[in-house]
């Protein structure tokens, strides 16, 4: 159950592109053609699905405060979390380099059309973001980390698919010349992001309980006094050290 929940949450509510604005560079630059977009999207899913669980293992057994406990009780005191950035990035860069070599071997045409953006997956903030979110949200198990990686990847894939499809359509409409290409893509992405905010509302809205109305009367008297108190405290803060 929690797998399904996390999966859909990472695709729609926490969508990498539209909710956290990660992975924008390659998203904007490689979305011209549907075919290239699908290729890059698939690569991102793959890299996220591999790096998030890998980095989860790294974090759990090497980097976290006290994570070295499995080596023996004398290692409990070590906290290597200052290394997490560089370790995560090293894992990611290794995976990306691997993907680059594989794609170059099996699909030279895709390799050529991805151009500079293939190595840039390594700094695609969506990938590092995935690992850092995994760390800061304290995802409890390896399985969930995998679900999270795949989910975020699919979310990114859907986003680039959608914009690529829109851009292919736009080719037949008369956009002002100066806005053609990149300009209109930026603006459409902005509008799509506003649309995606409605998913965010699904979580934050509706948890307000409509109770505690009847108590209002009792509290009105207090109000004045407390405001006065508060101003006094603020004033005190400002005039200190005199």
């Amino acid at each position: 159950m929690e797998h399904i929940e996390l999966f859909f949450k990472s695709i729609f509510i926490d969508n990498m592109v539209f909710a956290t604005f990660l992975g924008m560079c390659s998203y904007l630059a490689v979305s011209k053609k549907l075919a290239t977009a699908v290729g890059l999207g698939a690569a991102v899913i793959f890299v996220l699905a591999v790096t998030v669980p890998l980095n989860w293992l790294l974090d759990q057994y090497i980097l976290k405060d006290g994570a070295l406990a499995w080596l023996g009780p004398e290692y409990v005191v070590y906290d290597l979390s200052f290394l997490s950035f560089i370790m995560f990035i090293a894992t990611i860069a290794t995976m990306v380099q691997l993907v680059e070599i594989i794609i170059e071997k099996f699909s030279p045409s895709l390799y050529n059309s991805l151009g500079i953006f293939l190595p840039l997956i390594a700094v695609n903030c969506a990938i590092l973001g995935g690992s850092l979110f995994m760390q800061s949200r304290e995802i409890p198990t390896l399985g969930l980390a995998l679900t999270y990686g795949v989910g975020s990847g699919i979310g990114w894939f859907l986003a680039i698919l959608a914009i690529a499809a829109i851009r292919e359509k736009i080719r037949y409409s008369s956009v002002p010349p100066a806005l053609r290409g990149l300009g209109i893509t930026f603006i459409i992405t902005g509008l799509m992001a506003i649309g995606f905010m409605s998913f965010g509302g699904m979580l934050t809205g509706g948890d307000e309980k409509p109770k505690e109305q009847p108590k209002v009367e009792a509290k009105i008297e207090k109000k004045e006094i407390k405001k006065a108190d508060a101003t006094k405290i603020v004033a005190k803060n400002t005039t200190l050290n005199e």
Binding site: M24, A90, P119, A193
Partner: protein
């Protein structure tokens, strides 16, 4: 500019307009969206990127002949991450206040694709002096866009510039607010940064027709 040959000067000035990293090369967008809600953060980010890209480009350029091509991505990332982390540690030890302001940017700098992008596209194939100029030029071009976006988002979104209330006080209803003007809180949200950049691109390409793309 007498110091610089014409070619070298172009390395500095091209990225400001015709080959701008954000509006033309599409690099470094994430950070441009994330931190431009405030003008001050935009300026800090612009300066930090300039320092990192300038130094990083030189280092990569010096090492360009000994880096094995198979693992160049890892090498590049490790070098830039190590540089940034060391600077962060030194600041933490000797200038804690400053480090608190800057440490938020550490992650954003390491993953900023403008840095990797320039390593890959320029520093790997050119000498240190040229790479240094290229680094400065590109980060300046990046900074200009950041500052423009930050200016409009802070002014229209919170009615302030660098924290100063230039349009009056929205709560006390002074200045512009006395006439019924309201801040547009929407400007503070990231989607609006995309739209502002879109408009900048529109303005830029209306002036410079050579940049106009086919659909």
């Amino acid at each position: 500019m007498a110091l610089l040959s014409k070619k070298d000067a172009a390395l500095l000035t091209d990225p400001l307009t015709d080959n701008n990293p954000i509006t033309v090369q599409v690099l470094g967008i994430c950070s441009a969206l994330a931190i431009t809600a405030e003008l001050k953060a935009s300026i800090v980010m612009a300066i930090s990127v300039m320092a990192v890209l300038g130094v990083g480009n030189v280092v990569i350029s010096l090492l360009r002949n000994i880096i094995p091509s198979k693992i160049r991505i890892i090498v590049q990332l490790v070098i830039v991450a190590a540089l940034v982390i060391i600077v962060d540690l030194i600041l933490k030890a000797f200038s804690y206040e400053l480090s608190k302001t800057l440490s938020v940017f550490v992650g954003l700098i390491i993953t900023n694709c403008i840095i990797m992008g320039r390593f890959e596209a320029f520093a790997l194939g050119n000498g240190p002096w040229k790479s240094f100029l290229d680094g400065l030029g590109n980060s300046a071009g990046y900074g200009i866009i950041l500052i423009i976006v930050g200016f409009f988002r802070e002014l229209l979104g919170s009615g302030t510039l660098l924290g100063f209330k230039v349009l009056g006080d929205p709560i006390e209803k002074t200045g512009l607010y006395a006439f019924g003007y309201e801040n547009n809180g929407f400007m503070l949200l990231s989607p609006m940064a995309l739209i502002v950049v879109g408009i900048i691109i529109w303005v830029q390409r209306s002036k410079n027709k050579t940049l106009i793309e086919e659909n």
